[in-house]
Structures are given as C-alpha cells and as structure tokens.
C-alpha cells in the first residue's frame, strides 16, 4: 500500500517536472523542473528498495543525488555563460543549432 502511494507520488512529481520543463521558457525554471524529475525517479527507487527489502534502491538514490549535484554544477556554469553571451535566460533564444 505504502509502495503504491509512494509510486503514485513519484509519477505525479515526474509529470509535474515534465510539464514544468516543457512549459517554462526560463532556463533556470527548466533546471528546477529537471531536479524535480530526478527526485521523482529517486523516490521510485527508494520505494522499490523498501518494497523488496534490498539496499540497491538506496544505492541508486545516492548515485542520482551525486549525478544531480554534478549536473547542476555544470548546468549552472553553462547558464552563466549563456546569460553572459545572450543577455537573456530564454531557452528558445538559444536556437543556433537548428538544422
């Protein structure tokens, strides 16, 4: 029962993050949404780990945590550079790489 609720919450959070990612134009908000999605995934892992009584879920959570930290540090660096070059944080403005 607990697992089901936890997974529901994880799906809800993930959907929320995805909607945020797709609807927001500000790149900082997009990063925030991304963090929410990562956390939703970790929650699912934790729930799974608790359900099967195995430590793997928590290990994965730690991995994701590290990954999120690394990702944010790199992403913030890029955001800084972008705002420095383009003087905006609008993600749609950075469309130099279209085919």
């Amino acid at each position: 029962m607990l697992t089901t609720h936890a997974l529901m919450l994880a799906i809800l959070l993930f959907g929320l993050g995805l909607v945020g990612l797709l609807s927001r134009r500000n790149i900082l908000y997009m990063l925030l949404s991304l963090e929410i999605m990562l956390n939703a995934a970790s929650l699912a892992f934790i729930a799974g780990g608790a359900r099967w009584g195995q430590v793997d879920g928590e290990v994965m959570f730690l991995f994701i945590l590290t990954l999120a930290a690394a990702e944010v540090s790199v992403a913030l660096g890029i955001v800084l550079q972008l705002s420095y070059r383009f003087h905006t944080l609008d993600a749609d403005a950075f469309s130099e790489m279209k085919g």
Binding site: L21, L22, I27, A91, D92, F94, S95, M97, K98, G99
Partner: protein, 629 residues
C-alpha cells in the same frame, strides 16, 4: 666452346646495361666501342660456338644449355635454357653478323645525334632480345624475346621522340603486333593446358601423339600461333604497322624491320613446323596469306614516293615469299630466302640510308636522281641489292633462293598451280619496283645536290653486304645448274625436306627456271621502259583519272589503314573520349538520396531545447506503450 653459348645473348645485354646505366658519362667513342664491341664479340662467340657445333654435326644435332629454372611451381617448369640446332644457329649467325655490320654503320650514321648512347643501348637490347627469341628452348622464353624485340622496335621507331608522328607510328607498331602477341599467348595457354609442357621440342612430340592430323585443337593452336607470326612479320591482315615503322633511323629499319625482327614470324612457324603440319588448313592459309601479301605489297611498293616506304613494302613482299614457301612445306627454301633476304635487304636499307644521309634527310625519290656519279659506291652496292631482290639470274643470291621457292611451289604436293602463277607475277613486280627505285634515285637529272660519299664505317658494311648478296646464293645451287647443295642438307636435320608431287616431271625444273628468269628480267626491262625519263610512259598513265585513283589506292596500302581506322580506331576513340565513368553515377545517386533524406530530417532539428525534451518524452511514452502491449 659450345659452353660459351650463353654468352651470345648475354654480351649484347651487358652492352645494353653499361650504356643504359652510365651511357651519359661515356664519350661518343666509348659508346661506339661498347655498342659495336658487344655485338662484335657476340658474333665472334657465335663463330667459335659454330666451329665446335660443326665438329659434332650431324651426329649431335642440337645442344642444350640450361642457365637456371625460371618458373618452377605447381606443375609448370620453365627454364632459362638455350637450344642450339641448325635452325637457331643460322638465325644467330645472321643476327650477330648482320647486326654487327649495322652497328658499325650506325657509328657514323648517327654521329651527329644527341641520343647516341641511347641508340646503341636500344640496339644492343634488341640484339639480346632477338637472340633470346631464336635460342629459346621453350615457348615462354621465346615469348620473352618476342615481346622484347617488340619493345625495342617501339623504342627505336620513336627514337626521335620529339616528333609526335614518330611516336604515333611507334605506338601503332607495338599495339598492332601486340594483338598478334595476345593470340600467340592464348595459343600458349591452350598448349600448356592440353599438353602440360612449354618446351618447344616436347610440345610438338606430345602434340603429334595426342592430336590427329587436322584435329580442331591442332588447327586452333596453329592458327593462334599464325596470328602471332602474322603480326610480327607484317603480313596480311596485320601488315599496317610496317610502312609507318620507317619513322625510325635507317639502321633500325635495316636491322629490325628488314633483316631480323620481321622474320621472327617465319622463324616461329619453321620452329613449330611439326605442329603446323598437324593443321593442313592452317598451312594452306599460310601459303595464301603469303601470296596475297607479296602481291599487294608489291603493288604498293610500285607507287610509293618515299624511298624507305618502297623498301618497307618490298620487305613485306619478300616475307610473303617466305610465308608462301612455309605454306607449301618448303621449310628450307623459306629459311634460305630469309638468309639471302637479310643480306640484300639490309644492304638496300643501308645504301638507302647512305643516300638519305648525303642528301640531308631527303627521302622523296622524286627529288632525287642522277646520283650514280656523285655516290658511286652507294650506287653499285644499291644496284647489287636491287638485282639480288629482283632475282637477276646466276650472279645474285636472290635468284637462287627465289627460284628454289618457286620450284617448290610448282612441285609441292600442298600447292596449286595458280599459286605458282601468282608468285611468278610477284617476281615481275619485284623487278619492276626494284629498278624503278634504282632509276629514280640514280639515273636522270639531279634534283638535289649530294654531300658526297659516306665515310669508312658506312662503306665497309655496304661492301661486305654486297659481297654476301652476290655470293651467299651459291650455298644452294639447283641441280640443273651444277648441283652444289650445302644449305638443304644442313637444315634437313631440323626441317623436313619437301617431296615432289607425283606427276611432276623433274625435267620441268629447267622450264620453270626459265620462266622465273624471264619474268624477273621482264620486270627489270619494263622498269627501264616505264621509268627511264626518256620514255616517260608512267607519268602519262598516272595522269589519267583511273590510273591516278589506282595509284593513290595502292600508295595508301590498299586502304587498310582507312578500314581499320573506321572499324577499330574510331569506335575506340569514341569509347574513350569521356574520362568519367558510368558506374560512378550509381554512388552519386546514393549521395543524392542521402542528401534529400538529410534535408527532410533536419526539419526536426529546431534548436529549441523544449522541443527536444518533448520529443524525448513522447518517444519514451511510445516505447513504454509498445512494451506494455
């Protein structure tokens, strides 16, 4: 002394190597010494070897020497080995002897040329290749010499490389003969596949055992070899290269395109006579080709303006006689004519060279004339050569060889009388064109002033060859005239002697000889009538439209060049005019396809991060849905 045999081809080869590798650093004198010396020593070695050979002759009919195994793998064993018998010794003697004289002649003839050492290098290489050809014990080695002489012929025709026409002539010579060579090579493939050997002697023994007379295989192989021989010897239908080959320096024409290389075809057929005898159809073809070539070439020789082209056509015609003799089974007669022809044709070319030399490279006989007082030595030697070619009876060598051939044609079981009449017409034409040349060049009024007789190095070969052209015929005097027979017993150890057809009376030989003599003398007489300026009959003939058209037709060698141009050269040029290729369009189509796909797919690449995220999400959902299903 027989052991020295290997030296004979190696000496000129060494001369070539010396000249090719350090010819630039040698003085002209040294070049001449190396060039002539190598061939001269080869001639001396030949003399030594032949002395030894004759001591054991005829008990030991051949001598074989293997230097090393050339190819020895997977059932094919081919050695670099020499085979000396009566036939090859004759060839070797002619090649080294006449070769030496011509080298000597060239020392002076080319003294003013830039490519002095190059010339002697090529000439030495030629002699080496030609000796390999005639001494080869197996067909593959023979093929090596065969292609080698072709290469040298190419290089020497195009010796003055700055003239593009000379280059074209050289290429033409090589490519036309190469067509024959390819047929020859295919013949070798068949022989090897069927008989598992390439040794000349072994192959013929095996063939005689394996194939009955007239069997398809024998006919095919013999025909392929014949095509090779026809190409090399400038017979119909591959004769077109020889007149153009006169672009080379005159000593080259004398050595390669008269005395030695062009007779390689005759040698090949004589060498393979057992095989050819297995295919009577082919042998008959040989006779017909010979007859046709000798008549057509004689007509062409009648109307040429260029002194060397006249001689070129006369060479074709004389080789036609040799082919005719081979075709009727008179093997020894063909070789005898080869011997006398080498002497008198080399003489004619060298004398013509002397004329050209003293007239500063004038070759048009209509601009010559009256040279007999200015160039007496040249005149007399040329006259002897022309007389020998026309077969002036009793005193010239040409008479004895040609008479032998005609008698064989008359009496051979393989021949027909109409062939004999054709050949008789040929002797008339020979006299006609030979003396047309003599009269045009040496009689009448002078058009160009000559710079005087050539020097010592050019005169010696002329005189020596003139002596040969007079005397060498006495090796074989027909028995109606005294019966001195040295040549036919000598060759009878290699080549079968001709049997007289049943029903031919031996006494008819005298009558036949009289006919030949009359025909030759008639030709000479006609030449005097037609071409001496005071009669001036022929000019009037040529002025008529029909006569003019005929003369032009003959002058262009019966239009063979035109025919081949239309049939082969133009389609070929059409085929190769475009340097692009069709198959490349296939890969270009691929490129176009890839590019259009790329243009289509690149619309999805918008540059908006959110669009990418959305597509990733949708893609994941679709995949999940697929898995769930």
């Amino acid at each position: 002394m027989l052991k020295l045999l290997w030296l004979i081809p190696v000496l000129p080869l060494a001369g070539f190597l010396v000249l090719a590798l350090c010819g630039g650093r040698l003085s002209r004198r040294q070049v001449a010494w190396v060039g002539c010396g190598s061939v001269g020593t080869a001639a001396v070695t030949t003399a030594l070897v032949s002395v030894d050979f004759f001591q054991g002759f005829p008990d030991r009919a051949f001598y074989q020497q293997t230097l090393w195994n050339w190819i020895d793998t997977s059932g094919m064993t081919v050695g670099v080995s020499w085979y000396l018998d009566a036939l090859s010794l004759l060839m070797v003697a002619v090649i080294t002897g006449i070769g030496f004289l011509i080298h000597l002649y060239s020392v002076e003839y080319l003294s003013g040329d830039d490519g002095y050492s190059r010339f002697f290098a090529y000439m030495n290489l030629f002699v080496a290749a030609m000796l390999t050809l005639v001494l080869a014990d197996n067909l593959l080695l023979l093929y090596l010499g065969w292609e080698g002489v072709g290469l040298c012929s190419y290089l020497l025709i195009g010796f003055w490389y700055r003239e593009p026409e000379y280059g074209t002539a050289a290429q033409k010579a090589f490519i036309v003969t190469r067509i024959g060579d390819t047929a020859f090579a295919i013949g070798l493939f068949i022989l090897f596949t069927q008989l598992h050997s390439l040794s000349i002697q072994q192959v013929q023994t095996l063939a005689a055992e394996a194939w009955p007379i007239g069997s398809t295989r024998a006919v095919i192989v013999a025909a392929l070899l014949l095509i090779g021989a026809v190409g090399k010897s400038a017979q119909l239908p591959l004769q077109v290269w020889l007149p153009d080959a006169m672009a080379g320096p005159t000593p080259v024409s004398a050595l390669i395109h008269a005395a030695t290389m062009v007779t390689a075809g005759v040698y090949l057929i004589a060498r393979m006579h057992q095989l050819v005898a297995l295919a009577p159809l082919v042998q008959e073809t040989v006779a017909v080709i010979g007859l046709l070539t000798l008549l057509l070439a004689a007509c062409s020789a009648l109307v040429q303006r260029d002194i060397k082209r006249v001689l070129a056509y006369s060479t074709m015609s004389q080789i036609g006689y040799m082919f005719l003799a081979l075709g009727v089974g008179a093997w020894s007669a063909a070789l005898f004519h080869f011997l006398t022809h080498s002497c008198f044709k080399a003489l004619l070319f060298l004398a013509a060279g002397s004329v050209i030399h003293s007239l500063h490279h004038e070759q048009d006989i209509f601009r010559m004339g009256g040279l007999r007082r200015q160039l007496p030595v040249t005149f007399w030697t040329f006259l002897i050569g022309a007389a020998a070619m026309s077969g002036v009876p009793l005193i010239t060598a040409g008479f004895y060889s040609k008479d032998w051939i005609l008698w064989s044609v008359w009496s051979s079981p393989l021949s027909h009388h109409w062939i004999w009449f054709g050949a008789l017409l040929g002797t008339l034409l020979t006299g006609l064109y030979s003396f047309r040349l003599v009269i045009r060049v040496f009689f009448g009024e002078a058009h160009t002033l000559a710079s005087g007789e050539p020097g010592f190095a050019m005169r010696v070969p002329l005189v020596v060859l003139a002596l040969f052209a007079l005397t060498i015929g006495f090796l074989e005097v027909p028995h109606t005239l005294g019966h001195l027979s040295l040549f036919s017993p000598y060759l009878s150890h290699v080549l079968p002697t001709l049997e007289i057809r049943a029903g031919i009376d031996e006494s008819s030989e005298t009558l036949e000889q009289i006919a030949v003599t009359c025909s030759a003398l008639l030709g000479i007489g006609l030449a005097a009538v037609l071409f001496l300026p005071r009669f001036n009959f022929i000019e009037r003939c040529a002025d008529m439209p029909a006569g003019h058209a005929l003369a032009t037709w003959w002058q262009n060698g019966w239009g063979f060049d035109r025919l081949y141009d239309r049939l082969i050269v133009r389609p070929w040029l059409h085929l190769t005019r475009d340097s692009g290729e069709i198959l490349d369009h296939g890969s270009k189509l691929l490129v176009i396809g890839a590019e259009s796909c790329h243009a289509w797919l690149s619309h999805t690449q918008t540059g908006h991060v959110r669009w990418y995220a959305a597509t990733v999400a949708v893609g994941t959902l679709v995949l999940l849905g697929l898995f769930a299903l």
